[in-house]
Point group: C2
Chain length 329, copies 2
């Protein structure tokens, strides 16, 4: 292993890749212990159960280097066996439709993260691209109780401001924003205002910082130094324990997938989402974060701006691990 | 026919019954020409396609007295052939999930009414039981365009106030509230405020007045005279052409169905909906409207308070017919 992560738990709190052996090996050899992998966005119930089936096959076919994590001890076991632990997550509540009983069904199949919304309003709450955010709905309140009961992490990425604040207040367990950045770093609909970050941290919640270009200052030209300085500022704002990485790395997809992520089947007219210049391609990753193993660059970047090794490892994995323990230990 | 409807088009703008031959015969012999029948509430896509299949079978098995109406000329044909025309409707947008292309699929199967919401928030808009109503969402706007294009009636029954106002403003074709009463008659979350009624009428929209006890002044003890006086007041408020009957008659169901209507699968804890005293039974219909054929009592009630025969027949069917023509002639 050509990196300083030998005895550390390193976690990427969200990736959406078209996975293959090379990508898994890059992550494992790059020192990652666990990845929260997105399985679906717009898929319906049946399609989502199918995706879970597909993932069990992928893990089984690569079980020399992969394992499926449903609790934090699985992550520790993966570390011991030099495997990459995969945590299943949905980036939307579309799979549960109107049916609260599906939350447990998906939990029993291994799901551990679910977003309430994906940009658009759902039956549970408001999305970050909506003009008006309802906050958490009647059904949303019931689903939050159910996710809390089971130990499924409520993920507020892509939710609207009121929905975030409502969910933070309603949830009896700490909630996550698995992949986003503070708006003080880069103003965007997907990034998070200070008031929410503070509320999140005050309830022991968590933010995974994103490397998706539209969430970064200067997008694809974002400098590593600026990203690391943002982390330092965020530590000052909400304390170190609530911060990790959720890279939102999307590798090996054709361009039609980014358009599908934006449009699903909800519109017949093309919607360009976060792209202001009607770009229908994947945005270019910054040169210092083009693959899982590039997380080592963030290690060096944080080291360079003076973070202690202990604090760096908190940011790169230990904090995620401790947060996950509060939901599914 | 023991009623004065021989040469008239009589339309009930919403019923949800567990239909059988007796109920169809009562409606037909009672002078009804067409009924907008609710097929589903909480059902998902597959279940909703199945319900449509079931209904085609029901109509086929009773094709001596029933026909399926997909345009207003089908209603005229039914009248001529002394049959009861059935218009298909969904009381929720659950069947289309996140998929705008399903609107056309359901339209092609004969669907002509769809509510954006049923009490609760959906991906399209806010429900009347929600604390915060988002108004019409991004997806909701796209669906409204699609329903307009196809000629499917946007039904705002069970929607929140902002969602009603948004949809009235957004829709290029007149919209309906198929079954509700004015709040000036009886204050309830399901009934409609004057400001919405006026907006609705100003855009050529339509309200079908409900006989469901929770929508009535004094509930099951509501007097026919009071109901008819309400109609007179409503005519003064919004003009006669925008008013019809949408009885919300629910016959031949066991009590678990009213609880299912309220709870669907969205909550594990029992929700009592419009019943303030935790009643889990169907409310008792007022004695003057216990079955389809009792619409003759409303005829006599309106006659008694001085409405002209011409105006009575407008209220009892002609207005609905003219309104429907603006969507699916």
């Amino acid at each position: 292993m050509n990196n300083p992560f030998k005895n550390q738990i390193i976690i990427d709190g969200l990736q959406y890749c078209n996975w293959n052996r090379d990508l898994f090996e890059d992550a494992l050899n790059g020192g990652l212990t666990a990845i929260h992998a997105t399985l679906v966005y717009w898929e319906n119930t049946e399609e989502s159960f199918q995706k879970i089936q597909d993932w069990h096959k992928i893990i089984n076919n690569n079980n020399d280097i992969l394992c499926h994590a449903t609790c934090t001890s699985d992550i520790l076991k993966a570390k011991k066996e030099n495997k990459l632990a995969i945590i299943f997550g949905f980036q939307n509540s579309a799979p549960i439709a109107n049916n609260i009983f599906l939350v447990e069904d998906f939990f029993l199949k291994g799901l551990r993260f679910m977003q309430l919304t994906y940009n658009n309003q759902t039956a549970l709450g408001g999305g970050c691209f909506e003009e008006n955010d309802s906050g958490v709905s009647r059904f949303g309140k019931e689903v939050i109780k159910e996710m809390n009961r089971l130990g499924m992490i409520i993920d507020l990425s892509h939710a609207g401001k009121k929905t975030c604040l409502d969910a933070i207040a309603l949830s009896s367990k700490p909630v996550a924003i698995s992949h986003a950045n503070p708006t003080f770093f880069h103003k965007s609909k997907r990034n998070i205002e200070d008031v929410i970050l503070k509320e999140l941290a005050s309830k022991d919640g968590f933010i995974g910082l994103s490397l998706y270009p539209y969430h970064l200052k200067d997008h694809s030209n974002c400098k590593l130094e600026d990203f690391c300085e943002m982390i330092k500022d965020l530590i000052n704002l909400i304390g170190i324990d609530h911060i990790g990485i959720g890279s939102d790395l999307c590798k090996n997809w054709s361009d039609d997938v980014v358009m599908w992520m934006r449009n699903g089947k909800w519109t017949k007219e093309i919607n360009y989402g976060e792209s202001s210049n009607k770009n229908s391609s994947w945005p270019k990753q910054p040169p210092w974060f083009k693959k899982s193993s590039d997380i080592v660059n963030i290690y060096h970047g944080l080291d360079k701006i003076g973070l202690s090794e202990k604090d760096i490892f908190k940011i790169l994995g230990l904090n995620w691990f401790n947060f996950m323990q509060k939901n599914f230990s």
